[in-house]
Amino acid sequence: MNKQQKNQVALNAFGPGAQALFHIVLGLFALACIVPFLFVIIISFTSEDSIRQIGYSFMPLSWSTQAYSYVFQLGDALWRSYFNSFLITVVGTVLSVAICVLYSYPLYRKDFKYRNFFNFLSFFTMIFGGGLVPTFVVCKTLLGLSDNYAALIVPLLFSPFNVIVMRTFFQTTVPRELIEASTIDGAGEYRTLLQIVLPVVKPGIATIALLNALAFWNEWFLSLLYITKNMNVIPLQYLLMRMQRNADFLAKNSAMLGADAAQAARNLPSQSLKMALVVFIVVPIACAYPFFQRYVVAGLTVGSVKG
């Protein structure tokens, strides 16, 4: 290779040394991002004996599927909350996507008289809010959002950020002539939206749906706030959270509380069982993840561009 060619290469890409360095840095960080999950999977398959002897380890002394058979013995509490998680995610996603599309479409229409008003109505809430307590009081005492499914869905139904994302999707993918043509042909507003516009913005809807589904699936804060008595409606995330708290409480106080509590503590799920539950929560995400990653990137990139 003569000198000139060598220079040419140096100007087009980093040399092999730098490339190797990049691979090491990126590879280590990428690995660090998924190792905790792999670790939890390993723990969930570790036998109780091994945990008692050497604690959690990447190389347990012996393996076991005991934790998973415990999981199935948990029975109702587990399946109920698994079902709740799915129910909340599906209902929440469908409703929030509908509300989001219906709200952002008129904001995209330049000929909508009250466009600026509704735009501001949504945007302002991104800058200022009443705070946790007033929102909680309004939802609980005025709207009756307490100890029911609605409490876990309604407070998350609308997101100003998603409205900006969706409106940008309309602006970039739906030509305004399409709407004019449709209006001239005599189609009503709803018909234009449903039959003409929606098919064009399908990728945008997929993005919004995924962002919402993720938010609902990962939700635990609303349960913490609004569910006090009715544990029949809690999702898996909150069940997992409660388990840690209850186990700690009983473990710490079993001596003080007497034989009954000690018995209860012994019957409580073992350490590996909780890790098995974590696996149960993450697996649906991990399975769907490679397929929806692309849409989420698209949505987040669009959303961070000025609306």
Binding site: L11, A30, Q244
Partner: protein, 311 residues
């Protein structure tokens, strides 16, 4: 009498209004009504008979600024310091790391590897803090966590992580970087991909080395994205990530000096004392200061570079 010229009422506007209605009602009920509810911060809010929202609000005693007395307690200084310090340091760290990793990914010749790294780095963003808190527990749990177990096997005294404050600034920082750096770098990578490739060719023709190209083409190319994400995070500097500070340290009392932030304070005050007035006061203060922060940062950015400002 002169009548202002007005656009005629039309069926089109009517139908479009029916579309925004569900969202608008939600906003009024769940966002704007609580804004009126901030008067709770100035009241000794108690359940009245009958226990309805308006009745409670009207009949509760007006106490003026008494609910803000918590500002004098030393715990307040700690939580404000924690919130600002963690957020401030993390904004810088996330920015520097995410941009560095994004540039590296964009410069990799092996596109398949770059894609694989991106997929792995983005993964934590999709998990909740509840799940992440179990990941941390797997390493730190006092009875069987990996680090205490290793300490035991070496004959050392195992660290009681959930009782000692020493390591928590580091643990929280690692947790936060673990969850957010990958996400930000994916955003920056998307911005880098959008840079016109002819700029690099032109720079190469002018004899710029690859390193110079990164400084003079890539970084200026993603500047708008950096500025927008920066405004958003500086505007939210008074809002801590509740899930991180509540779940990852298991809301452990002895750790409060280094883990208590405004958000967890508001929640813990409510959960432990049911003093709604005081939690509302802390929340109101946070909202107002946060709002001022956003407006100021945006104003500064608009003065420097009007194109990049948020509004």
């Amino acid at each position: 009498m002169k009548v202002k010229p007005m656009r005629r009422w039309s069926w089109k506007d009517f139908w479009l209004i029916t579309m925004v209605l569900p969202g608008a009602i939600w906003l009024l009920l769940i966002r704007y009504l609580p804004m009126l509810g901030v008067v709770i911060a100035f009241k000794d809010y108690k359940a009245q008979k009958p226990n309805t929202f308006w009745n409670n609000l009207m009949k509760s005693k007006w106490v003026g600024l008494k609910n803000f007395a918590f500002l004098k307690s030393p715990a307040t200084v700690t939580m404000i310091r924690n919130t600002l310090l963690y957020n401030g340091v993390w904004i810088v760290l996330v920015l520097v790391l995410a941009v560095t990793l994004a540039v590296m990914m964009s410069e990799l010749k092996n596109r398949f590897a770059a894609k694989a790294y991106q997929t792995m780095m983005f993964f934590p963003y999709f998990l909740s803090w509840v799940v992440a808190s179990y990941f941390v527990l797997a390493f730190l749990d006092p009875t069987s966590g990996m680090i205490p177990s290793i300490q035991k096997s070496l004959g050392l005294k195992p660290t009681q992580f959930y009782m000692t404050t020493t390591w928590w600034p580091l643990i929280l920082t690692i947790s936060n970087l673990w969850k957010n750096v990958g996400y930000s770098s994916v955003l920056y990578l998307a911005a880098i991909t959008g840079i016109d490739t002819t700029l690099y060719e032109a720079a190469a023709v002018d004899g710029a080395t690859k390193r110079q190209q990164v400084w003079h083409v890539t970084l200026p190319g993603i500047r708008p994205m950096i500025v927008i994400l920066l405004i958003m995070s500086v505007g939210k500097i008074f809002n801590a990530d509740f899930g991180l500070f509540y779940n990852v340290p298991q809301n452990s009392g002895p750790l409060y000096p280094v883990t208590q932030v405004i958000d967890t304070y508001v929640y813990n005050t409510y959960a432990n004392t049911h003093n709604l007035g005081m939690s509302a006061a802390a929340g109101l203060l946070q909202s107002v200061v946060g709002c001022v922060c956003i407006v100021i940062t945006n104003g500064v950015v608009r003065r420097i570079d009007a194109e990049s400002s948020l509004f």
